[in-house]
């Protein structure tokens, strides 16, 4: 197995281009860091010791707040998370506790999979579509397009995130809200 030079998520421009290539229309987007003011990731109640879930929640909220149109009660939004390594900080903390013979916090159980923060997002923003986590932005956008094509969702929130694992790097995330090709006209006129 070879080591990639970087696992950082794509920037917003690349994400928009990839979405267009997948036949998707971007209705809102956000990233972290977005400005120089993006220093400490805001804490998220119930999630500890790692920036993974708080950062995912923060960048998703930024994109969702930028929605271009109000959502009707029947609107179904899928959550598609894209990450190369997942919550590697939590994994390292758990391994260290296990190796030291220490007990693990029950909160770490829930955040050991990306689904928990997706569940938080689903409740907070009433995203009633499927929850998926894959590696690779192309896979994430293909999954989003397929869910929309199959009428399992009207739109998809695609959140790309990876934490820094080497010194000098930093935690990065980007989120886009996408609809299918059939919605393009509705966006232009609505």
């Amino acid at each position: 197995m070879t080591s990639p030079a970087s696992i950082a998520p794509p920037g917003l421009a690349a994400l928009h281009a990839a979405a267009a290539a997948a036949g998707l229309t971007v209705s809102a987007s956000a990233s972290w860091p977005q400005t120089g003011a993006d220093g400490e990731v805001p804490a998220l109640a119930g999630f500890i010791e790692s920036n993974f879930s708080p950062l995912l929640a923060e960048v998703a909220a930024r994109a969702l707040r930028g929605r271009a149109r109000p959502q009707g009660p029947g609107n179904v939004t899928a959550i598609v998370m894209v990450t190369a390594l997942g919550d590697v900080t939590s994994a390292v903390r758990v391994a260290a506790a296990v190796d030291a013979g220490k007990r693990v916090s029950p909160l770490m159980f829930f955040q050991s999979v990306p689904n928990a923060v997706a569940g938080y997002l689903a409740v907070r923003w009433q995203l009633t579509g499927p929850v998926v986590c894959v590696s690779g932005i192309r896979a994430g956008l293909d999954v989003a397009a397929l869910l929309i094509e199959d009428a399992d969702a009207d739109e998809a929130l695609v959140v790309c995130i990876d934490l820094a694992v080497t010194s000098g790097d930093r935690d990065r995330a980007a989120a886009i809200l996408v609809t299918g090709p059939a919605d393009r006209e509705r966006h232009r006129t609505g």
Partner: protein, 391 residues
């Protein structure tokens, strides 16, 4: 929150027009390697749980799991299963080279203890590339699913959807989880493991889940492509549904609304009514909240048929295989229906009024199930339903 879901009209699930089949399968679990070991183990009705020997559990509240002997290696086991599924499907080297791999996995088990610089190469994608390389599958379009206990079933649903729409002719979907110290510690800390050493789905006195080794692989293919190479299908992959609850970060919707929508979508895509289902391999985790929610989901989606269709959760036999559950349990469902013998819902102590279903109890049930369903659910309110039909 339930009101918001109730107000949302359930859109009719769409699918492409292509027929989708499964032409190959392979598995490994505590009962041994191979689908024969899995089926005979499950039909024995004897749970595979035993005290964990693989790592130190002396500090844990619960000390049981269903494990294979020794220290199996995840990459070796998943590669072997994927290769065996390809052999089972009769795929040539050229066929394999054109077939992508969808892999359901928590991650590379080595990543948490690797030096920082090495971590970059220990994500699921390099792991999947090594699997693909090891069994001659194409390294193009590899995809990894890491969405917990619905990872493999979501991958299978996506593969079926792509094939039905003509986006792909064939996909190998594999999943793997081997019980290890870190997830065991997490589940123990979360107090979701059964401290009596048995999983008792839908039963009074159920005390939780237990982890189990699970590795599985299936070749999902268009009927047209299978016919072109004269490969006999093991089963039709007739319908699929994936939904989210939007109810709670880690608890299922108590009325089972999200799972009910997944069941309905899968039935719609299969083009069958609830009464056509002859068997349901339930998610049936054996935990306090999840089993009643699933029961309610089945009542909501199936109506009167929920009282009749035989149901069992084979997690009470082979254990909870996390990201691999969906593929292992689909194989059980598919092969049980082919054999005309439905596995028992082991560990049952007595009825629980919140979990009234037609459970298969005491011994396997001889039955013809033209259509069967495999259900999975995960943290975050994620649900999947897969409908398989006899070929």
């Amino acid at each position: 929150m339930a009101d918001a879901l109730a107000a949302a009209p359930a859109p009719a699930a769409r699918r492409g027009s292509g027929e989708v089949v499964v032409t190959g399968a392979a598995a490994a679990c505590a009962y041994g390697r191979g689908t024969e070991a899995l089926v005979s183990g499950v039909l024995s009705g004897q749970p595979a749980f035993a005290p964990v020997q693989r790592f130190d559990v002396s500090a844990r509240r619960v000390r049981f799991a269903a494990t294979m002997p020794g220290l199996p290696d995840l990459l070796t086991e998943v590669t072997r299963a994927a290769a065996q599924a390809c052999d089972d499907a009769g795929l040539s080297s050229a066929d394999r080279g054109r077939t992508p791999l969808f892999l359901a996995i928590h991650g590379d088990p080595a990543i948490a203890r690797a030096p920082d610089a090495a971590k970059l190469g220990l994500g699921p994608e390099p792991f999947a590339a090594a699997v693909a390389n090891g069994c001659g599958l194409g390294e193009q379009d590899i995809r990894c699913y890491t969405s917990a206990c619905v990872a493999a079933s979501t991958a299978i649903g996506d593969a079926a959807s792509m094939i039905a729409r003509g986006h792909a002719d064939r996909v190998v979907v594999a999943g793997g989880y081997l019980v290890e110290s870190d997830q065991f510690a997490l589940f123990d800390a979360g107090r979701v493991l059964a401290d009596d050493g048995q999983v008792r789905p839908f039963s009074a006195g159920r005390r939780g889940l237990l982890l189990g080794d699970g590795v599985g692989a299936v070749v999902v293919e268009s009927l047209q492509a299978a016919r072109a190479r004269r490969a006999p299908p093991l089963a039709r992959l007739a319908g699929w549904g994936r939904t989210g609850d939007a109810y709670h970060p880690v608890q299922p919707h108590p009325e089972g609304r999200g799972m009910a929508r997944a069941v309905t979508a899968a039935l719609q895509r299969a083009g069958i009514a609830a009464g056509h289902l002859g068997y349901i391999n339930a998610h049936g985790s054996g935990t306090g909240h999840s089993d009643p929610a699933e029961t309610n989901a089945l009542r909501l989606a199936l109506g009167d048929a929920a009282a009749d269709v035989p149901v069992s959760s084979t997690k009470a036999l082979h254990g909870q295989s996390l990201e691999a559950s969906g593929v292992l349990e689909l194989i059980v469902t598919m092969l049980a229906a082919r054999n005309g013998m439905l596995p028992v819902n082991a560990g049952f102590l007595g009825p629980d009024d919140s979990c009234r279903l037609n459970l298969v109890l005491h011994e396997p049930l001889g039955a013809t199930a033209e259509f069967s369903m495999s259900l999975n659910a995960a943290l975050g309110g994620a649900n999947t339903a897969l409908v398989v039909g006899l070929p």
